[in-house]
Amino acid sequence: MINWGMAVISLAAAQGTGSKAVANGASGFLFSSPVDHALVAGTLVAICAGVVGTFAVFRGQSFATHSLSDIGAAGGAAALLAGVTPLAGFASMGTVAAIALESAETTSAKDRDITTGVLLGGSFGLSALLLYLASNFTNVSGATTGVLFGSLFTVSASTLPFLAAISVVVVLSVGLVARRLTLASFDPDLVRVKGKSPRTAGLIFLVALGLAVAMASLSLGAILSAALMIGPAASVLRLTSRVGTAVLTASLLAVAETWLGIYLAYESYSWPPNHDGWPASFLVVALVLLVYLASRGLERLRVLMGGNVGLSGGSATERGRGATPHV
C-alpha cells in the first residue's frame, strides 16, 4: 500500500500554522494508516458522490438518495438472515427499490417524494420483520443492519480495491446515460422524440445511485454517504448550470470536504472537552452544510450585485418545473 498520505502533504503543509500541536499532528497525519485508508476510501466515495449526486440533485432526488440507505438497510437485514455479505443485501434491495421508484410513473417531483416515502415506510416494516426473525431464530446478538457513523477510519486495506471497482462501475454507468439524463431532466419528451426511453436512463441511474449509496453507507456510514451525495452537488449547482463543470467541481468539492474533514478529525484529538477526537462524521457533515449555506449566500450575493438571475426573486416567476437546474 503506497502511503497516500504523501499525496496530501501540500494540503497539510498549507494548513500548518506552526503551533506545536499542529506540527505534531501533521506529521502523524501523513503517516497514520487509518488516515491513509480513510483518505483513499473517502476520495473514492467522494468522486462517486460528486458524479452521482450532481444528477440526483439535478433531478430533484435528494429524498430518494437519502432513503436508499435506509431501504438498503432492510436488504442488510435480509442478508444477515441469509448469511450473505451485507453489501449484496444492500445493493439488491437498492436495485429493487430503484426499479419500483422508476416504474411508479410519478407525475411530479412532489409525487415522487410521496412514492419514495411510501416505499420507505414499507421497507421499515420489512426491516422490522427481518430483524424479528433474525433475533428469534438466530443466535446473533448485536444484529443491526444499518451503519450510521463511525467506520471512516477503520476501512481496511483489503476493501479498497473493492471500493475502487464499484466506483468505476458507478462512474461509468452514469457516464453512459449522462447525456440522456440531462436531456430528460429538462423534458422527458425530448428524449422520447429521439426514439429513446427516458425511463431506461433513469433506471440505470437509480441503480447506480443505489450501488453508490450502498457502497458509501457500508464504508463510511449512512450520514456521511447522504451528506456527500447531496451537499457538494447542490452547492455547485447553485453556481453553475453546466453539467460537465458541475460534475467535475462537485467531485472536487466532495473530495476537498472529505479531506478537510479527515484532517480536522485528526486535529480534533487535541480539542476539548475530552481530548479524544471529535467524530469525523460530524466534522465532514458540518463542513458540507457550511459550504452549502455559503453557496446559497454567494448565489444571493450574485443576484444582489445585479446578476441576471430572476427579476423579482418572487415565487410567482420561479420556475415551474422542478427538475431544471438552478441558473
Binding site: T107, S108, L304, L311, G314, A316, G320
Partner: protein
C-alpha cells in the same frame, strides 16, 4: 384620488441593489376598466404587480387603493412631496390586499391532487382565513354563482388536475373572483394558451370588467389579442411607463421615447406590429438589454 379610481400609482421607484427596475412609474385604474400592462420580458411588469399586491416595498412613490390608502415605505417627506397633502399611511396591508383577486402566471396542479374545481373556488372565498368556516350555505351559493359567471358550472366537481390549461386558467379566474375583489390582477393570463382558449379567457375578462364592473389589470407581452377589450394600456420599458388608451401609447413617438431609440409601430390588418431599429441607437440607462433586439417579441 379621483372618484371611481380603484388604484393609483404615483412615481413608483423600485431599486434592487445595483439597479433601478422602476424609475418613476405612474398610472391609475378606474372601476370596470380593463388595463393591459405591456412590455418586453424583464421590463418590470411583475415588479409592478408585486408592488401593487404589497409583496414588495417600493423604494419610493405611492400606491393608493380605494379600499384603503396604502402608503409604501414612503417617508412622510416623500408623501408630502408627491401628494401635497399627506396620504395617511394607516392601511394594514391585509386589508389592501383583500381588495385584489390575483391570478398568478403559472399554476400547475398535479393530476392526483384531491382538489375539485369547487374546492379551488372555495379557497378563493375564505382560503386565507384561520379557524373553521361558518355560513357554509352562503359559501356554497357563492361558489355556484362564481362558476356560473365564469361559465364553467359543469366543471364544478371535476378534479382540477385533469383539466386543460385553458380550463385551469378559468378556474383560477373564478378563484380570484370568488373573493369579490375590486380589481383582478392577472399575470400573463394568455401565456401558454391556444388561440381558442385565449379568446375565451379574453371574453371572460371582458365580461368581468364590463358586466361585473370589476377592474381588470393584466399583463401580456402581446397586445393583439387584447386590442378589442383593452380600455387602457400601460407600456413599460426600461423602468419608465406610458399610460393611456392604446392609440395614444402604442405609437412610434411614445415607444421611441420610452426605448430611447427608434421604434416603429405599424397597423397590419388590424394587428399591431412593433419594430425596433436594428442598429439600436444607445441603450436606455436601465434597460435590460432587450431594447437592442432586432424585433421585439410581441
Amino acid at each position: 384620488m379621483a372618484n371611481g379610481t380603484v388604484l393609483e400609482a404615483r412615481d413608483l421607484v423600485v431599486e434592487f441593489p445595483g439597479r433601478r427596475v422602476l424609475d418613476g412609474v405612474s398610472f391609475s385604474i378606474r372601476e370596470g376598466e380593463l388595463v393591459s400592462l405591456i412590455g418586453p420580458n424583464g421590463a418590470g411588469k411583475t415588479t409592478i404587480f408585486r408592488s401593487v399586491l404589497g409583496l414588495l416595498k417600493p423604494t419610493s412613490g405611492l400606491i393608493l387603493t380605494r379600499a384603503k390608502r396604502q402608503s409604501d415605505s414612503a417617508t412622510a417627506a416623500t408623501t408630502a412631496r408627491i401628494n401635497g397633502t399627506a396620504a395617511t399611511a394607516t392601511a394594514t396591508s391585509t386589508v389592501a390586499k383583500r381588495a385584489f383577486g390575483y391570478v398568478p402566471q403559472q399554476v400547475s396542479f398535479d393530476r392526483e391532487l384531491p382538489l375539485r374545481v369547487k374546492d379551488v373556488v372555495r379557497l378563493g372565498i375564505d382560503g386565507h382565513k384561520f379557524g373553521f368556516s361558518r355560513d357554509r350555505k352562503g359559501r356554497e351559493k357563492r361558489i355556484a354563482e362564481v362558476l356560473e359567471e365564469t361559465g364553467i358550472p359543469e366543471l364544478a366537481s371535476k378534479r382540477v388536475g385533469e383539466l386543460s390549461g385553458g380550463q385551469q386558467k378559468k378556474v383560477m379566474i373564478a378563484h380570484a373572483l370568488a373573493g369579490e375583489p375590486e380589481m383582478m390582477i392577472l399575470d400573463e393570463p394568455l401565456a401558454n394558451l391556444d388561440l381558442k382558449s385565449q379568446d375565451q379567457v379574453v371574453a371572460l375578462l371582458e365580461r368581468v370588467s364590463k358586466v361585473k364592473h370589476v377592474a381588470v389589470f393584466l399583463s401580456a407581452h402581446d397586445i393583439n389579442p387584447l386590442i378589442p377589450v383593452t380600455d387602457k394600456v400601460i407600456f413599460v420599458s426600461g423602468g419608465k411607463a406610458a399610460c393611456g388608451p392604446i392609440n395614444e401609447v402604442m405609437n412610434s413617438e411614445v415607444l421611441t421615447s420610452l426605448y430611447g431609440h427608434r421604434v416603429d409601430v405599424f397597423d397590419y390588418h388590424g394587428r399591431m406590429v412593433v419594430l425596433a431599429d436594428p442598429e439600436g441607437g444607445h441603450h436606455h440607462d436601465h434597460a435590460e438589454g432587450h431594447g437592442g433586439e432586432g424585433r421585439l417579441n410581441w
